[in-house]
């Protein structure tokens, strides 16, 4: 059985990675999962300098999901390169560095800096709803998305995955825009912007007022968007949003994803990624399929 997938020229041993921001840089989950078994690790977003992030409360529970407004707290690219990349390199897995920024220069600086590092792919987060200038401006406008993609590609030594926001009218248009900008792959969905109000204190549940909704609650929306994006572009699509078991991952691949990322589900079950890999294998076996790639886009009308 062949579980490998090839995403923009990078071969993963299986199609399962973790969603940025839900797995730190891997160190904390290393107690729970053998990181070498993952297709890839996607790191928390990193910026050119350390970011303090938002005030707390930063997280809240919602029905079937959660909301977060971490605000892209990160240690900055220097410490990240010194500490987190070498840590991950000890494992036999691909490294995808998620990059955030407030301006085109920010993104390009980080991308350029990573050109010298031993990482496999870059994921550019133009869709964080939780900081005033955390890229969402790029992620909700096709023209801006195309421009930032083109700018980043100039500096990138590794394949570039553009991470799309679901808070848009037409996800296909956004996917096409980053394809036109030269992206090597797209990933989606980032979180849907939500709000929760504490009716006892009559204030916002999150200090940031709004936050990004993730988890199983958003899964059907994510599947739809992955389907539409896969229909719109030729690029490989990395699908995510509410994947919590092998069935969800397979669904995402049938919708058109070449690989999947598991986010919020890690918080509910730290070993979920391995269970998903095993579940996909079991599904292929049961259905007498030889190659996991045969799942991609295989839904029938």
């Amino acid at each position: 059985m062949n579980m490998t997938v090839n995403i923009a020229g990078v071969e993963w041993k299986n199609p399962v990675t973790v969603a940025s921001g839900t797995f730190g840089s891997g160190a904390e989950y290393a107690d729970f999962v053998d990181i070498s078994r993952l297709g890839a690790v996607t790191t928390k977003g990193v910026a050119s300098v350390p970011w303090q992030g938002n005030q707390t409360p930063r997280v809240a529970e919602t029905c079937g999901g959660m909301m977060n407004a971490i605000g892209l707290q990160n240690p900055g690219i220097e410490l990240f390169c010194q500490r987190d990349i070498p840590f991950l390199r000890k494992y036999d897995t691909k490294i995808i560095v998620n990059v955030c920024g407030r301006s085109e220069e920010d993104y390009c600086e980080v991308v350029e800096r990573l050109g010298n590092e031993d990482v496999d792919m870059l994921e550019i987060n133009i869709s964080c709803p939780n900081v005033k200038e955390g890229g969402i401006a790029f992620g909700q406008n096709p023209k801006a998305a195309q421009d930032i993609t083109r700018a980043v590609k100039k500096y990138a030594k590794q394949p570039v995955i553009m991470k799309l926001s679901p808070n848009v009218t037409d996800i296909g248009e956004m996917a096409k825009a980053v394809e036109a900008g030269g992206a090597d792959a797209v990933s989606l969905i980032n979180t849907l912007t939500g709000m929760k109000i504490d009716i006892r204190r009559r204030t916002f549940a999150l200090a940031n007022q709004t936050g990004g909704v993730s988890g199983p609650a958003i899964h059907p929306i994510a599947v739809r968007m992955v389907y539409q994006a896969a229909q719109a572009v030729k690029l490989p699509v990395i699908g995510m949003g509410g994947i919590a078991c092998a069935e969800d991952a397979i669904e995402m691949m049938l919708a058109g994803a070449s690989a999947v990322s598991v986010g919020t589900a890690n918080f509910h079950n730290p070993t979920v990624t391995l269970e998903i890999i095993e579940g996909i294998e079991a599904y292929l076996k049961e259905n007498h399929m030889e190659d996991v790639k045969d799942l991609v886009g295989a839904v029938q009308a």
């Binding site: 707390t56 959660m66 971490i70 410490l79």
Partner: protein
């Protein structure tokens, strides 16, 4: 490596020990290596509720591989209400033990205050049982006469009580109880609501004594990965590289001077 997991524990017993306060003993692997001041991530069986409830370890029974938690049901239709409906024999998913725990070695040969307020009282019990010191003064603050865990405290140190409504012990908070009884100490360990911890931090600064406080924040991962549960630190934190420490991983117990609350 890769040895922790979300584990299916077993409810050994469950009882209500005060209005809306429940005590549960859980059979779990986590008991093996647990220390006072650490906590458990407890999960409901409800698929609509994903996130763990962080609950402090109240007592550890290593011999039988059991942990005791004491928790408040925060309202109708909450996760803690679901816990409260569980019965002996039921399964409960947990991850733990999590967090750093109280540094008990600091207390050797010293006079200490072990201070708990409200639902911050439970972790003080295991602390009181583990700590070795010259003089063990437990100060527990409650709302009213429902002074849960009182008996256990009396067996493990000198107990002073404050109640908001004055029905038992000193009327007021834990600091009022200290003042009223003219107590003093060299080291403080405290857990409770933020306003109480803030006052204790100030008191400790004034008296120039070492003070450890156990903080609370909303959590998502419970293991240090998501950066959901940070508190502001006075110095740049070495892990985060900014002025934020993760309560679930670097805490929940901090030196009061390290954090800004």
């Amino acid at each position: 490596m890769a040895k922790m997991k979300k584990e299916i524990g077993k409810v050994v017993s469950q009882e209500s020990i005060a209005d809306g306060i429940f005590s549960m003993w859980i059979e779990t692997e986590a008991a093996k290596c647990a220390r006072c001041g650490q906590f458990l991530s407890m999960y409901t069986n409800d698929s609509g509720r994903l996130l763990p409830r962080p609950i402090s370890i109240c007592e550890i029974d290593k011999e039988n591989g059991r942990l005791r938690v004491v928790y408040r049901v925060t309202g109708e239709n909450t996760g803690t209400e679901q816990f409260s409906r569980m019965k002996a024999g039921d399964k409960i998913s947990v991850i733990g033990p999590l967090g750093n725990g109280f540094p008990v070695e600091e207390a050797k040969g010293k006079k200490v205050f072990l201070m708990g307020g409200g639902i911050g009282v439970p972790p003080i019990l295991e602390l009181a049982k583990e700590i070795e010191c010259e003089k063990k003064q437990i100060v527990a603050g409650y709302r009213d006469a429902q002074t849960f865990l009182k008996k256990e405290f009396e067996q493990n140190g000198e107990l002073y009580i404050s109640t908001e409504d004055g029905s038992v012990g000193t009327k007021g908070n834990v600091l009022d109880a200290i003042r009223e009884n003219g107590l003093s100490a060299d080291v403080i360990y405290a857990c409770g609501p933020t306003p109480m911890l803030r006052a204790i931090k100030e008191y400790a600064a004034e008296k120039k004594i070492v003070c450890y406080i156990s903080l609370e924040e909303r959590m998502a991962c419970g293991i240090g990965a998501c950066l959901g549960c940070v508190c502001r630190t006075s110095q740049r934190d070495h892990h985060t590289n900014v002025h934020n420490a993760r309560i679930c991983k670097d805490g929940p117990v901090f030196l009061a001077t390290e954090v800004e609350i």
